[in-house]
């Protein structure tokens, strides 16, 4: 196995039991604790990959089966908002990485700033998502809630689409498959947004703790591990954006 190093330590030192207050008693050294919690976070992210994996599988199948419906439906998504959201999230990943750096360099002020920026950018992302979702709701593009295929069977009735894409009308049965696109849209971005909400709540908690100096005394495992989670959420969006928004924007 690749990880063949064994954690060794001085039994004598263990006897004296001098360890930082944040070291749990079942660990022999703080290094072991940090290794373990870091590895645990990575394993948790593996479960997240597989969880989203089911949705990606569904997406790939139905996009392949109902390509015209997916193209037409994706035109309902605004590239401006989607692109802006991508910018916000990528930047928030940058600020999060800078936050970890600040904690490593024990710069408390910088850490609080970076975490706050990440927080704000995350909120911005969610705000834009709300705008997008509301638009879908207004146009009856939410599966199960009086879903309407009118924009697709009669694109002329939808002025924005008409102007930008001049989509041809879809035949009725292909038009019904746009509902599958929107189910995937809401399921995937919704699941993603749920993970963002959880992340933002934890960020709020971390900002409070950071201001109290909790992470700039050398014990930054929490910030590091949260950073992994945040970057993972970013990666999911990196794939969602082209798959949902950029299927085909050419005439």
């Amino acid at each position: 196995m690749s990880d063949s190093t064994v954690i060794t330590y001085d039994a004598q030192a263990g006897e004296e039991h001098e360890h930082p207050s944040y070291q749990r008693h079942h660990f022999e050294t703080i290094g072991q604790q940090n290794d373990a919690t870091n590895f645990a976070m990575w394993l948790f992210l593996l479960t997240e990959i597989m969880f989203f994996g089911g949705l990606f599988t569904a997406y790939l199948i139905y996009r392949n089966w109902y390509y015209p419906a997916f193209v037409a439906a994706s035109h309902q998504l605004d590239i401006f908002w989607g692109g802006l959201n991508t910018l916000l999230l990528i930047t928030s990943s940058f600020t999060m990485a800078m936050g970890v750096w600040s904690a490593e360099m024990r710069k408390q002020g910088a850490l609080v700033l970076c975490l706050t920026l990440t927080f704000v950018l995350g909120l911005g992302f969610l705000g834009i998502k709300t705008i997008e979702y509301r638009e879908k709701f207004e146009k009856h593009h939410v599966p199960g809630l009086h879903y309407s295929v009118q924009s697709f069977t009669n694109p002329a009735s939808d002025p924005e689409i008409e102007r930008e894409y001049r989509d041809k009308p879809l035949p009725p049965d292909m038009a019904t498959h746009t509902e599958l696109y929107f189910f995937l849209y809401f399921a995937m971005t919704g699941m993603h947004a749920l993970h963002m909400i959880i992340g933002i709540c934890i960020l709020g908690f971390m900002i409070v703790r950071a201001r109290a100096g909790a992470y700039t005394g050398g014990h930054l495992a929490f910030v590091e591990n949260f950073g992994l989670y945040w970057h993972f959420v970013d990666i999911v969006w990196i794939f969602l954006f082209p798959l949902l928004y950029l299927i085909s924007r050419h005439q």
């Binding site: 290794d35 990959i49 199948i61 750096w101 950073g227 990666i235 990196i238």
Partner: protein
């Protein structure tokens, strides 16, 4: 012999982070632009390729995997591998249905 934290004190510099951020933003612009150009079957391939590159950059640098232990790299690999098995083998069923019976 006391083992230190996995991150072995390799602190990634803000300059690196800035470079990666720039690359990610450029990739985003590129992928948006590419979707407006008709390249037939190449469109989804290019979009996925750009997305994968961006993801790899985030994983290697923002998530420090480039400077992490072999175990971390193996873990990431295992996740990606299993994901590909799920997607690949399921899609293989769907794609081969059209081939009919023997």
């Amino acid at each position: 012999m006391s083992e230190h934290s996995e991150h072995e004190h390799h602190i990634v510099s803000p300059k690196t982070y800035l470079a990666i951020l720039t690359a990610l933003l450029a990739g985003t612009a590129l992928t948006i632009a590419a979707s407006y150009v008709d390249m037939g079957p190449l469109n989804p391939i290019i979009a996925l390729a750009i997305a994968c590159t961006k993801a790899v950059l985030v994983i290697l640098f923002f998530m420090h995997v480039k400077y992490s232990t072999k175990l971390t790299k193996l873990t990431v690999g295992a996740g990606v591998f299993t994901f590909l098995i799920l997607v690949g083998m399921t899609l293989a069923d769907y794609f081969t249905r059209a081939w009919g019976r023997w």
